[in-house]
Amino acid sequence: MSGTKQGFWAIARREIVRMQSRPLYGLSMIFAPLFCFLFFTTLMGEGLPQSLPAGVVDEDNTSVSRSILRNLDSYQQTEIIKQYSNFAEAREALQKNEIYGFFYIPKGTQEKASSQQQPKISIYTNGTYLIPSSLLYRDMKTMAVMASAAVGREILYAKGANLDQAMGFLQPIQMDMHPLGNPWLNYNVYLSNTILPAVLALMILMVTCFSIHTELKDGTAGEWMSMADDNVLKAVSAKLFPQTMLFSLMALIYLVLLYGWLGFPHHNGFWPMFVAAELLILASQGFAVFIASAIPSLRWSLSLCTLWGVLSIPISGFSFPVMGMPDALQALSYMFPLRYYFLIYVDQALNGISLVYSAWFYVILILFTIMPLIDIHMLRKAAHEYTYLE
């Protein structure tokens, strides 16, 4: 191509022009990540859901049952919004999603309790909504145990025992739970720390693959290659460089948002996470180039990149642990860059342990980055003899 400038910077400049020429790039590289950053961090702004709507069926309606209910309402996470007259009504409310759970106190609870017949109170939660269901259960269970203990404690007090002695009898062994790194059980910490980079990685995989293959589809690949003197490595790295910069800016935004603005745990400071995010970007780009070179069809390679990006969210194991998955998928989880980012985050931000423990994860992310070296020569071939496949 006579008249066209050659070299790394010329290709990078050309890429910037290409990116500006279509709103698609702006939407997918800037809008999509920013929208998700904002969405997830504000969605779970409460950290741990408070005042979950719950109901109660008090068929007993005695001093004991009323004291149970009073206590339950004083829990921060539970809010009794309605009292139902019978079980069927409460179940219907549960099905209509008005409440996430209810407490059932059958008739004769107090009477049975005082006549030593061990009455039973029941806790019902809607397992369709797992998080509110589990949280309500915790409150209600504590309450039920406390209600039982309260009756016993009153008697022990009456017999002259002090608090220490009473508790020593009622609950000889007690548990002291220490949730490491996230003592508030904050869901925002638990989920946003991985979902934000996951969305970014998804967009990187797709944009990288798309931008390379559009060159082939639009027939501009020849020009692109000749600008790099037919050096495919140079062509690809120069083309992706402006994208890397833009994605780095996005990564910086979410890092500042999470660890600066929201003050999420980052026990080893900013840098280990910054490096991890940068490597995640490069690893995702590397993986996408690998796929784009291996599969000479825009749609198929884009499909695979998309699948990888979407699948990396559940398979990285931040919501459902990898150890709970079937063996085949456990093995597959090693093939996802996000998995290693997640492990680094756990070590460096959440638990704040020595970098030595995470060194391998950083190295593997670098290996993902250089993965295209295996098959990038195929991209060069494709650039010269390509036919678009719908």
Binding site: L24, C36, T42, L43, M44, P49, L52, V64, Q95, K96, N97, Q118, P119, K120, I121, I123, Y124, N126, G127, T128, Y129, L130, I131, S133, S134, K141, A144, A147, S148, G152, G168, L170, Q171, P172, I173, Q174, M175, D176, M177, H178, L180, N182, A198, V199, M206, V207, F210, T214, L311, P314, G317, P321, G324, M325, P326, L343, V346, D347, S354, E390
Partner: protein, 437 residues
């Protein structure tokens, strides 16, 4: 006849879908395989046997009993007894263990003296399920042991303590509609519904993108049946609905059955609910597809939306605790209502009247998106602003110019004819005059 036109459009669209491998991937292959992958991923429902390490500084019969019983629960598995905290921590740092049970040296002594003895639990918070497993495993064991200890103390003790023992109120826990209280029964219904909406959006957008590309290339000429927007939209919707009738049956009925998930739906309710869901998703997809300019951009534009959409439905983070803005925004997506309705119909056996709010919302969305797509189609088609319209526009301009030229030619020719006629008359008159003279 508009009915015939509609069927024509429908047939053409159906043929376009079937002939397009890319679209078929979205309409058939992805719905076929993706749910299987997800259901397989969560098939164990919960985590069992979470590896934990132990530091037992007490080394008494009671502490050993506690550990033995913890190890026996389904939740926990003790992988190592460590000499000190340092060793235990090291195992946790190397991701060999996700929890640490620490029994202090004075445990047995405190217990014997009638005070409350404490066991410390440390839990890795990289997954909340580790926390849940550890808490529930140890709580079960401690409640069990507490009862035994109380019983031991009661034997040969005074009456007042026996009084206390006979008093407690029992409690039971029922997690309705999700027997294992696991991930699969909770997340899969949501994923299935979202999958239907998203594959529709992607497939329809790909069809629209291809159409736009062909218009630009000038290889697509639409027949007269494309003049009436109602027949076009109705015809296309019919084609998609036909395909998705099969897809939805497979995804919503077969997949949960295959994995033995709760399926409490009743057929009339399910059908009556899924139809408005599919219709609203179809028109929603069409509305968006008008803005797609080429085949592959749908990936970049719509795939990521799935991630926020699943959260907007309130299936994970409770909708009662969502900021109002997101709660309102969530209403415009069919998936929000679809997930909430289907989850309850499928998992908790709700009837149509129990999900009437969701069902009504879906009909309203169907109406809104139908009108909106009508409006957009009308404007784009009539004003030639449809993607790829440049070609159509050019053709029409050329035609108009030709007509103008033709008209001018005709006018000129006719004028010429008239003038010639006049001249002939003039000559005749002149000849007549000469004869008369």
């Amino acid at each position: 006849m508009w009915v015939k036109d509609m069927l024509d459009v429908s047939g053409k669209e159906l043929r376009a879908c079937l002939q397009d491998v890319g679209v078929m991937v979205f309409f058939i292959i992805v719905p076929l395989l993706y749910p299987l992958l997800y259901a397989y991923l969560y098939s164990h429902e919960v985590v069992h046997e979470v590896p934990v390490v132990v530091v037992d500084e007490c080394r008494s019969a009671t502490s050993r009993e506690f550990l033995r019983k913890s190890d026996a629960t389904a939740d926990l598995k003790i992988i190592s007894y460590c000499a000190d905290m340092e060793e235990a921590r090291n195992l946790m740092h190397r991701h060999k263990a996700y929890g640490l049970i620490h029994i202090p040296a004075e445990f047995e002594k405190t217990l014997a003296s009638g005070h409350q003895a404490t066991i410390n639990l440390y839990c890795d918070m990289s997954g909340l399920l580790y926390y849940k497993a550890m808490l529930s495993g140890c709580t079960i064991v401690s409640l069990d042991m507490n009862r035994d200890i109380q019983m031991q103390r009661l034997s040969g003790m005074s009456d007042w303590e026996k009084d206390v023992m006979t008093m407690p109120i029992e409690n039971e826990y029922v997690t309705m509609f999700n027997p294992a209280n696991g991930f699969q029964a909770f997340l899969i219904p949501a994923i299935l519904i979202l999958l239907l909406q998203q594959t529709l959006v992607l497939g329809v957008s790909m069809l629209a993108g291809t159409e736009a590309e062909r218009r630009r290339a000038g290889t697509l000429i639409l027949g007269h049946e494309y003049d009436n927007p109602i027949t076009v939209l109705g015809g296309k919707a019919m084609a998609y609905l036909l395909v998705y009738g099969f897809t939805a049956t497979y995804v919503l009925c077969f997949v949960p059955w295959l994995f033995g998930m709760p399926q409490l739906w009743q057929l009339p309710t399910l059908v009556a609910f899924i139809i408005p869901f599919l219709l609203s998703s179809i028109f929603f997809a069409m509305c968006i597809s008008f803005f797609v300019r080429d085949r592959e951009s749908c990936f970049l534009l719509f795939v990521f939306v799935s991630v926020p959409l699943i959260f907007m439905s309130g299936i994970s983070w409770p909708s009662s605790n969502m900021p109002t803005f997101w709660k309102v925004l969530a209403q415009i997506f069919p998936s929000t209502h679809g997930i909430n309705g289907f989850a309850r119909i499928n998992t908790s056996g709700a009837l149509l009247q129990d999900v009437r709010i969701e069902s009504l919302s879906l009909w309203v969305l169907t109406g809104i998106y139908f009108m909106l797509s009508l409006f957009i189609y009308e404007r784009m088609y009539r004003s030639d602003k449809m993607p790829g319209a440049e070609f159509v526009l050019a053709m029409r301009a050329r035609a108009r110019r030709n007509i103008r030229v033709a008209a001018r030619d005709i006018k000129e020719t006719s004028q010429e004819l008239i003038e010639t006629g006049k001249r002939i008359q003039k000559i005749r008159r002149y000849k007549k005059g000469r004869k008369g003279n």
